[in-house]
Symmetry: C2
Subunit: 358 residues, 2 copies
């Protein structure tokens, strides 16, 4: 196993990324955020320094054709090109490299629908520690293959959240590994937030960022970072109608969970956690709910026009921007420059084709 110090570039060793770039009133606001949410712009900047040398700085693509179709200027942040094929590697890397050497030595474990699992396996491999991954038997083959490719040890569970959690508890007991939750974890949220730091450098002056929502780890980090840098920037969630718990939760003012979910976007079936809920409640401006047919149509546009291979969950941001809900909403009429996070690209080509031809 390698220690954290060995991995850090010289310039970041022993250097805490502080508040010195923030105005005094922002500093105090940031302090409030960390007390309230366990995450703030400083933990996100720390995450960036910690994971920078391990992750890809993913490119931002633009397309005049898609601008014409949407009537906006779109900036696609291509996290499908991230290591492991999804944004999840950022959070996983931050979590694993936040551990002390003693903690890390026993390894890490998680239960996940796939992308987090692969990301955690890859991050663990990068640090040279074991990853025990609980995966439901129904997970897409390509996601399971990714976990195996990255050296993760797979422990199968049933599809239910309950079975996954019980299996993970057993692994914890047997190995003494550290549980790294896919989203309800401050280290994970801080890692995902590094996307905003990059995106706002690559595409300044955005009016809004549209982000897929599932458990809320991605959007929590993205929203906290983006609004700390520019409080007037809008953050909109994109959610499938067959797993619309975030929209229902926002409407009800409390976490709502669904007895079952049904969507082509297999990565978006989780529900919010207590940590992510408080951030989504306070920082997400709206949840745009789209149907599976809209997701498939957006995915097709990503392949045919943008030339990017996304998974259904990854294409939902574009689906949201093209939806009637968004296009007709007065509140977002002035959102001209829009960042869209293409969150991942892990899809079985067979499943993809089947989706296109339903």
């Amino acid at each position: 196993m390698k220690t954290v110090e060995e991995f850090l570039p010289d310039s970041t060793r022993h250097t805490r990324i502080g508040f010195n770039f923030l105005l005094p009133e922002m500093e105090s606001k940031s302090q409030q955020n960390i007390e309230k949410y366990g995450v703030d712009i400083s933990t996100i900047r720390e995450a960036q320094a910690r994971i920078k040398s391990f992750i890809h700085r993913t490119p931002v693509l633009t397309s005049e054709s898609l601008d014409n179709i949407s009537g906006r200027k779109l900036f696609f942040k291509c996290e499908c090109f991230q290591k492991g094929g999804a944004f999840k590697f950022r959070g996983a890397c931050n979590a694993i490299f936040s551990l002390s050497d003693n903690e890390a030595a026993k390894g890490v474990t998680t239960h996940s629908s796939g992308n987090h699992a692969a990301a955690l396996a890859l991050a663990a491999k990068t640090r040279g520690v074991p990853a025990y991954v609980v995966i439901p038997k129904t997970a897409p083959t390509c996601k399971v293959e990714n976990v195996i490719r990255y050296g993760g040890q797979i422990i199968w569970s049933e599809d239910s959240l309950q079975s996954r959690e019980m299996t993970a508890a057993k692994v914890l007991e047997d190995t003494g590994a550290v549980l790294v939750h896919p989203y309800n974890d401050a280290r994970i949220i801080s890692g995902q937030g590094t996307i905003s730091l990059e995106l706002l450098e690559q595409a300044p002056h955005l009016d809004a960022i549209v982000v897929p929502i599932s458990g809320g780890g991605l959007i929590s980090g993205v929203a906290l970072a983006a609004k700390s840098i520019n409080p007037s920037l809008r953050v909109l969630a994109a959610e499938p109608s067959g797993a619309n718990d975030a929209a229902l939760s926002k409407a009800a003012g409390k976490i709502i969970t669904l007895p079952e979910t049904k969507t082509v976007a297999d990565g978006l079936r989780a529900h919010l956690g207590n940590l992510t809920w408080s951030i989504v409640r306070d920082f997400v401006d709206d949840v745009i709910v789209v149907h599976d047919t809209e997701i498939i149509e957006a995915m097709k546009l990503c392949y045919e026009i943008l030339k990017v291979a996304v998974e259904p969950s990854g294409a939902i941001g574009l689906a949201a921007v093209l939806s009637q809900h968004f296009q007709k909403c007065q509140a977002w009429r002035d959102c001209n420059r829009i960042g869209i996070i293409l969150s991942g690209g892990n899809v079985d080509l067979g499943v993809l084709w089947h989706s296109f031809n339903r």
Copy 2:
């Protein structure tokens, strides 16, 4: 119609990009090149200044998984993200913005299997002049749709080169438009060469660049630019076995044409022209011939690992690097850092799926 001057950024107006960055012996070499080939590093740098504000500076992606599979360090220059979905827009833009206002006013015309046609239509639209495009009836639907989307006027021909050339001649007579050949044209070659200028900035210290070869416009520009900057850099062509005229030409020391071609890479069926042949003869180190099955396999890797939607012609560079020919060849054993040009991404998803399942 807009004039060239209106489009030029202030800094490039009236400024000829000269040789001042070249050493004296390189300057004299460059002068020889322009006399011999009609193209040299200075015409390529001029093209860069001319087209810079119209084209995408495409990203370079890397993948540890593909590095492991190939045993090299690979740098993928993603021209599939170029406007129009292929590198062709560079050359088309350079050709059209090289015309005088009088020449441009009557429009441009070409015959092409698709990507050049779409690119020319888009470049003509950018300058506000008409584009008359002769397209064989057998061209993939998505490529035809691109031409229409970009406002090109389509004139159908039969599939044979003869029918295409005759139809184009008729268009020339009727309209007075300027013929812009897809590859055997110094302006086109100079435009495509701008890829090397970007790539060698984005991924310095490459040992080799692998480039698809068809009519030779792309590889001619890439090779001239790359070898002017670093004469020890290797430039390798990738060609399908069912259209291996470049390999045969190199072996024979003269242009060889094939009575017919048969390959899944529909963009790679043209043969060399007199201009491109002289550059390919003098600057291309080897032609790596691959089978269609290898092209399909490489395309699959691009989708599944790199998450990039390429067309078969676009994936052939990766196929070449993974081929036995390349892997076992002593001459390229020390080529560790390899640039691969993913030349385009215009593919019907239906055709794609059919290819994957043959």
